[in-house]
Amino acid sequence: MVGDTELVTAAQAGDREAFDELVRRTYSDTFTLARRLTGNEEDARDVTQEAYLRAWRGIGKFRGEAQFSTWLYRITANAANTHLRRRRRLRADPLDEFNDPPEPRREVQPAEVVEAADLLDRVAAAIDMLPEKLRQVVVLRDVYGLSHEAIGEELGISVTAAKVRLHRARRKLHDAVYGPADAGGSESEEGSAHAV
């Protein structure tokens, strides 16, 4: 089987078949990232397609310093950010009221977070419930391990802003999964606050 590195080199020389094979190999992974960033399948589909189009246009710029998958994650993060920003702008457009109403998006209810038996399912559902700006940062940092610098670059925000959003996202996730810290949480052994 031809390795990813050989496929990338061939794609850089203009071999579309090689690039198609890279798409087949990485599609599920890219789609998963897009789904976690956008919070729904429909947007994830558009973002994934856009990410591959951008990757094909920019394959010549890939220098191989990072892994191909990491390069693709960054492109996907950037494409998701553009997509979500565009959608926010359209929603705010007053002319929108004359158009057909948008398809109602399936929102995850807090009860679903509690009911999900498995911790991973609970965390995944809680991530879906986060506001977009917080969700993007926590997914890129805590799930995919991107650096604050890379996140800042792809989302067009400062490193400080990325850190602040991560802090807020983790707190919200904690509260969604375990209950607010002030209330003691569902697993706490003792309740009274005290000073040391």
């Binding site: 579309r16 690039f19 198609d20 798409v23 087949r24 599609y27 599920s28 992974d29 789609f31 998963t32 789904r35 976690r36 399948e41 589909r45 994934t48 397609q49 591959y52 189009l53 094909w56 246009r57 911790l119 991973l120 965390v123 995944a124 991530i127 926590v138 805590d142 799930v143 995919y144 391990g145 850190k163 991560l166 802090h167 983790r170 707190r171 996730l173 904690h174 999964v177 375990y178 810290a181 002030d182 003691g184 949480g185 697993e187 706490s188 052994e189 003792e190 309740g191 009274s192 606050a193 005290h194 000073a195 040391v196």
Partner: protein
């Protein structure tokens, strides 16, 4: 340090190497904050595991993307062919203009020479 102050710092401290002595001292003696820290660590581990949980895209989505890439490739090829043809047209026009200019200059030079010879005779 109070539990509330520690709780506000835990989301940031859970994965950094930076040591926060007053927080550490508090956590060592506070069961409630130890539980909070354990929850944040568990949350972080769960998120790292999510990375390995790949979601299956609906059937047909890969084919859709490959088609979009093919269309993009055709568009790009058409664009480059068009720009190549434009370049050829521009070259031909430029060449014709240069040749016409040279011919005009040659005629003018020949005429002025004839005039000078007539005046001399």
């Amino acid at each position: 340090m109070r539990c509330e102050e520690v709780a506000a710092l835990l989301p940031e401290l859970v994965d950094t190497n930076t040591r926060h002595l007053s927080v550490e001292r508090h956590v060592e003696t506070c069961l409630r904050c130890q539980a909070e820290l354990a929850r944040y660590r568990k949350l972080l581990r769960a998120m790292q595991q999510l990375r390995l949980h790949t979601l299956e895209p609906a059937p047909g989505l890969i084919a859709e993307t490959l088609t979009a890439l093919a269309v993009e490739g055709e568009r790009r090829a058409a664009r480059s062919a068009l720009s190549g043809r434009r370049l050829a047209y521009a070259g031909a026009i430029g060449g014709t203009a240069v040749a016409a200019g040279a011919a005009t200059a040659a005629v003018l030079i020949a005429r002025s020479r004839t005039r000078r010879l007539k005046l001399a005779s």
